[in-house]
């Protein structure tokens, strides 16, 4: 394991320190407990958005704190949900009285810790709503599992709900928008290589030199199947087919197409993936209205990518295009 780190125990704290110094115009960080909020928090009259989860997925979530998106991000240890304390502290720091929306990726740990924090915040008089993101079609959604995982689609929920809050929607309305985005979003990923959690020091899984994992989770959880390496176009076909079936997307739909890098994949490869995905959507009569390509929801240095498709409607598209000013996503200001 070769990493540009000091003591593995200090990875999150040091990274957040660097992040807060580099983006002091956008965010303020607290360290005991650890969380990041908008530099101008609490924003009077605005519904506040909070998200968080294990570290190692950067720029998710701290990279999305700022105007038009999140008010707070709570980073846990690498790949481990934060505890309720920092979630509660961040909630109190951003609440302006208009209520707080939690955006939580569907993992048992995240769900339980945010739930506990919400109970504690409610006890202090803060109105809290929670939206669970579960866009990963690699996992069967059934009564017999913890449900689908929340993966790259989280960015879309955070951006669009953030824009709704920024324009002045109330808590129920913002929660409804977030729920709608999640309901219309589907994702699936592939890993070419594993990643190494700093304090673990060894790969979370192993893949032979010619193997890839289809349907990988963002913590290196196994996916649907392990297959031989194939040309990119075939891999894209494998990822996109279950996405299109699941909603289902249909001819005439207008969508946001998001190709996400897992952290260690060069940008040329992401655009090769994008090219094929766009081609396939066009062949299905589906129009790409908005594109997003880059490393947004990562798994440390994992090589691989995920494809996310969101079915747009005029309101969601307008909210996506609304100004945003965060470290990792910025336009319009």
């Amino acid at each position: 394991m070769k990493k540009l780190i000091n003591d593995p125990k200090n990875v999150v704290e040091e990274a957040v320190t660097g992040f807060a110094v580099a983006h002091a115009d956008l965010v303020t960080a607290s360290f005991d407990p650890i969380f990041v909020v908008r530099a101008d928090a609490p924003v009077a009259g605005k519904v506040a958005l909070i998200s968080g989860g294990g570290s190692g997925h950067e720029p998710l979530h701290a990279g999305f704190v700022g105007f038009g998106m999140l008010d707070a991000a709570v980073p846990g240890a690498v790949f481990t949900s934060p505890t309720p304390d920092p979630i509660l502290a961040a909630t109190l720091a951003i609440n302006s009285g208009a209520g707080v929306l939690q955006i939580v990726k569907n993992y048992t740990g995240d769900v339980l810790n945010f739930e506990t924090a919400a109970e504690l915040a409610e006890a202090e008089g803060v109105t809290v709503r929670t939206v669970i993101v579960d866009d990963d079609v690699a996992v069967k959604d059934s009564l017999y599992t913890a449900g689908r995982r929340g993966v790259a689609g989280t960015v879309l929920v955070e951006k669009i709900a953030g824009a709704a809050a920024q324009r002045g929607d109330d808590l129920e309305a913002v929660a409804a928008i977030a729920t709608r985005v999640n309901a219309q979003t589907r994702s699936m990923g592939v890993a070419l290589t594993p990643c190494v959690v700093p304090h673990a020091g060894e790969p979370s899984f192993t893949l032979a030199d010619d193997e890839i994992e289809i349907g990988i989770g963002i913590h290196g959880e196994p996916g649907r199947e392990r297959i031989q390496l194939e040309p990119a176009d075939q891999i894209v076909d494998r990822l996109l087919a279950p996405i299109l079936e699941d909603l289902p997307f249909a001819s005439g739909d207008r969508v946001l197409l998001f190709v996400n890098g897992m952290g260690g994949t060069p940008q040329v490869e992401l655009y090769i993936v994008y090219r094929r995905a766009a081609e396939l959507l066009a062949a299905n009569g589906i129009e790409v209205g908005v594109s997003l390509v880059g490393n947004f929801v990562t798994s440390l240095e994992m090589q691989g990518a995920s494809i996310t498709v969101l079915k747009l409607d005029p309101e969601l598209e307008e909210l996506w295009n609304a100004p945003v000013q965060t470290a990792a996503l910025r336009w319009g200001r």
Binding site: G54, G76, A77, F79, T80, S81, P82, T83, P84, D85, Y107, T108, G109, L112, N113, E115, T116, V139, K140, Y144, T145, A146, R149, V197, H199, A200, S204, F205, G217, H219, G220, E221, P222
Partner: protein, 211 residues
């Protein structure tokens, strides 16, 4: 020995030791069907618990000590196991609140409350391949031992043995809760890490009676 605050503190101290000892094993189990951090998570929590043990006031009750464990785990573990074990200890503390010394009925009430707390939060049923598969047989064995007129130590032994057997019995199961549920059939043949740490904690309760 009387199951008073001295025993409770010994139990907690042994818990921290035994989790630290099995840190790597627990993580290895979690790497197979989870995300490879269960040992790390539990050790982070119980190290913090061990540090706070000395701060307990002289007239603390077993319930006070268990409450300290609960709040410390909740605020240091994170992940799924943090809120689950945190709730377990919180409910256990509530079940014996105010008692200076725990008798057999207290123990059964405590274990039952702990188990019910985990179910309340995690919604797992027996057979879902979670820590519940250690806790439920433990509660049942403890109740049976109490009904059979066994003493406190025997009740704890019955609980620990049942938890260990229950944990071992998770091997052939497909998971329906937690990360392992993503694996479907691929989880078969692997032991649930949370059930193993649960059994370790209950065994520590037995061992603490001889400290």
């Amino acid at each position: 020995m009387a199951l008073d605050i001295t025993w409770t503190k010994a139990w907690i101290a042994r818990s921290a030791d035994v989790i630290s000892e099995h840190r790597t094993d627990l993580t290895t189990l979690d790497r197979a069907i989870g995300d490879g951090d269960h040992g790390e998570n539990m050790d982070r929590g119980f190290s913090a618990v061990a540090t706070k043990l000395a701060d307990l006031s002289a007239d603390a009750t077993p319930g006070d000590a268990l409450k300290m464990v609960a709040t410390t785990l909740i605020s240091t573990v994170g992940g799924a196991s943090g809120p689950l074990f945190g709730t377990a200890y919180l409910k256990a503390a509530g079940a014996v609140a105010g008692h200076e010394e725990l008798d057999g009925a207290d123990l059964v009430a405590m274990l039952t409350a702990a188990r019910d707390g985990i179910v309340l939060r995690g919604k797992a049923e027996p057979g879902d391949k979670t820590m519940i598969d250690a806790w439920t047989p433990a509660v049942e064995a403890a109740a049976t031992a109490l009904a059979a007129g066994k003493d406190e130590v025997a009740i704890l032994v019955a609980a620990a043995e049942a938890a260990e057997a229950g944990s071992a019995a998770t091997d052939p199961l497909v998971a329906r809760k937690g990360r392992a549920s993503y694996l479907g059939e691929r989880a078969i043949g692997h032991r649930d890490p949370g059930s193993v740490s649960s059994a370790l904690l209950l065994r520590a309760a037995v061992d603490a009676t001889t400290d």
